[in-house]
């Protein structure tokens, strides 16, 4: 015979079992993140892709579907390829310099910490300060420093030893180098933090074993440190590449893409198309090209580093 109490108990027990199963399932835990990603990342991305197939404009309420016209226009525009070249030079130089200098700084600080040397905290804070300051401010600071007269700090100092004024921003090649240097000055801190964090995870016993095996400094670095840092270096390089490919604020403030188009990167071109020429569709097509470039490079890194099991 079934009593009402026992039915209720069974219902509660069933509910508790469902609740437990739900809590054991990853979906409830992932749902908030998935919803936020969908709303703030996926939706804008899909919107941008859709927009790139239209002629949407800020100045006109009428929007038409134009297929791949925006992409065809980009592909046949010689200036687009020139900007792609500038972007590639900027991004490649940035990745190499950020990671190399970040590695050197991280090793130096790690060495200092292990040896109990003074000043490692000050060094870390100093380098971090450059990273904390917004790119637009960094660009303006470098712009002021690189003024091509006695009012520019660097040209003033060079003038004291009879050099210059050096055309840091009016010579096309030097202007590109100036943007790379300013970007490196800012971005190295990020690589340093990442790699320094990775260094803390390297087990000391590996170094001790290598020493016992007679490995010198270089061999310990090559056969212990670098392999142990592989996953960290992968993440760092991916993030620095994305950062470099998408750099806008610093170059906008430092050179504005000039002189001519000698420092005009894709992100700047996208801004100009979307918000100066008001052509949102064209701007979106450049954004999609940048997205594809970012994804393609990440895939290349994933293949080259072979870290799929570690991340």
């Amino acid at each position: 015979m079934t009593t009402p109490d026992s039915t209720t108990d069974r219902s509660f027990a069933r509910l508790r079992a469902v609740g437990r199963r739900l809590l054991d399932h990853p979906l409830p835990w992932l749902a908030p993140t998935l919803v936020l990603l969908a709303v703030f990342q996926l939706y804008p991305m899909v919107e941008a892709v859709l927009m790139s197939f239209t002629n949407e404009s800020l100045v006109s309420p009428d929007t038409e579907f134009v297929g791949i016209e925006q992409y065809a226009r980009l592909a046949t525009d010689p200036q687009f390829w020139e900007m792609l070249r500038v972007t590639a030079i900027y991004a490649f130089s940035s990745v190499v310099l950020h990671v190399l200098l970040g590695l050197v700084l991280a090793l130096a600080i790690d060495y200092g910490v292990r040896r109990g040397l003074r000043g490692h905290l000050t060094t870390r804070v100093s380098v971090l300060l450059a990273w904390i300051v917004p790119g637009i401010i960094i660009g303006l600071v470098w712009k002021v420093m690189l003024v091509e007269s006695q009012f520019g700090a660097i040209n003033y100092l060079l003038g004291l030893v009879g050099v210059g004024p050096v055309p840091f921003r009016s010579d096309p090649t030097l202007a590109l180098i100036s943007t790379i240097v300013a970007g490196t000055w800012r971005g190295t801190a990020f690589s340093m933090i990442m790699i320094y964090g990775g260094l803390q995870r390297v087990p000391q016993r590996l170094y001790e074993a290598a020493r016992v095996d007679g490995a010198g400094r270089w061999n310990r670095f090559r056969h212990v440190t670098l392999p142990q840092l592989k996953s960290v270096l992968f993440v760092t390089i991916v993030l620095v590449t994305i950062y470099a490919l998408n750099t806008f604020d610093l170059i906008f403030a430092l050179t504005g893409g000039g002189p001519g188009r000698s420092t005009q990167v894709l992100a700047l071109f996208m801004y100009q198309e979307a918000f100066q020429d008001n052509a949102l569709g064209r701007g979106a097509s450049i954004a999609v090209v940048m997205l594809v470039a970012n994804l393609a490079l990440t895939a290349v890194y994933l293949y080259a580093f072979d870290v799929s099991e570690e991340i």
Binding site: P167, F168, S170
Partner: protein, 460 residues
Amino acid sequence: MADGQRKLPRRTVVSAVGAGAITSLAGCQGGGSGGSVDESAPLISHERFGKGDTSLVYQTSTFYTPIEDQSDQPAAAPALKQQHEEWADNHPDYRIDVEYPAFGQWKNNLLTSAAEGNAPDGSTLDSKWVADFYEYLQPLNDYVDDIDDFFPFVRETAMRDGDLLAAWKYTGCRCLYYRQDVLDTYNNGDPPVTWEELLEVGQAIADGEEMDAFMFPTSSALANLPYFWSAGGELLDESGAPVLGADANRAALVDALAFIRDLVETGVTPQRVASVEEIEFLPREGRAGNLAMFVGNNDQIERNIKNPIETDDEIPDDRWERWKVAKIPRPADGEHTTGVGGWTEGTFREGDDGAAAAMKSFIGKFAEPESMGRYCEAAALLPTRESVFDDDELYDPDTPYQDRFRAFLQDGIARPPRPIYSTIASEYVIAIENVVTGQASPESAAQTMITNVADEYDAT
């Protein structure tokens, strides 16, 4: 015990900061306009002009607030306050609720809202924005008197099919600044009138003095378009289509770029001119004794030459007087021209009913001779009405060379009132920079510019 004492304040501080932040955000959100205005409230405040129950929304810059403490241009605030008080007295049923958008996104947000039909009732507009808003701006003809009194460039730019769409409240022009004492030595005291004279005198100065002879703001299309216009070039035809590819215009463009190349190649102008972005850079070089001549805006005589010299204790106060102004040099067979700009006011409120009439009346007051004269005198700006210059009671500023600037305005050409101008301007700047830095010849820079402008026009 000691640990416990340390932990509690940290939690308290975090909670207090969080609560403070939330309260601040709530405060920000609650800052909107309510219904009626308290009787004891001032007639004019930073966020509101007038005290009527019917609200009209108006966007402007803190440059144009009538409240001195809040203004980026405090000297002009009283003139604006008087103007708005007059309007508020005449429109007791209305009030203007003022918004101050962030400057960087102002135009784009305004365009978007206008396209969606959600534009504010009125807004301040840069004169170069006006063309982008033609289809949304409402006529002001019944609220602005004597339209023929405006300088020709105002009528050409702010009017469409006989409708005055923007009240152009002040303007500015570009001119040649020169050091009189230097030209006394090298050109009998006369400023160069033609390109050839500028090249000749400039070379003599560059050879004889430890200073650069002549510079111009490469990043400003409007400062350099006079070279093109003076060479006989036209940017657009009657329908607004770019005509740079026409033989005469292409020739004018190549001539202008070739002149700029000659300036650099002869050493009259240093290549570093390609890095000049701020208009303050050139007068600063001039004050430091590094530059003999430059192209600048009319207001720079007061702002960047006279005032800094007078406030510098180490330089005699009258030293600024050695700086004079002249027309921008032209080709030997060309006419003088100058680029003119300035700011306007416009309304998006359709119709002529009570609220629309009140808004149009508010906007129209900016172009009344009395308010224009008061404001321009206080702000050291140039009126857009000829009659204002003629009436000393309306406009009698202390700013030097106003009569000269007035004469220059007769040859003023405004930015062409079409959206394609923004592309023309950026392509012209790039062409100039490419020529200055030797990345392109005048011919190839001109061809690239013509192609890009035509492509952009076709695409839009």
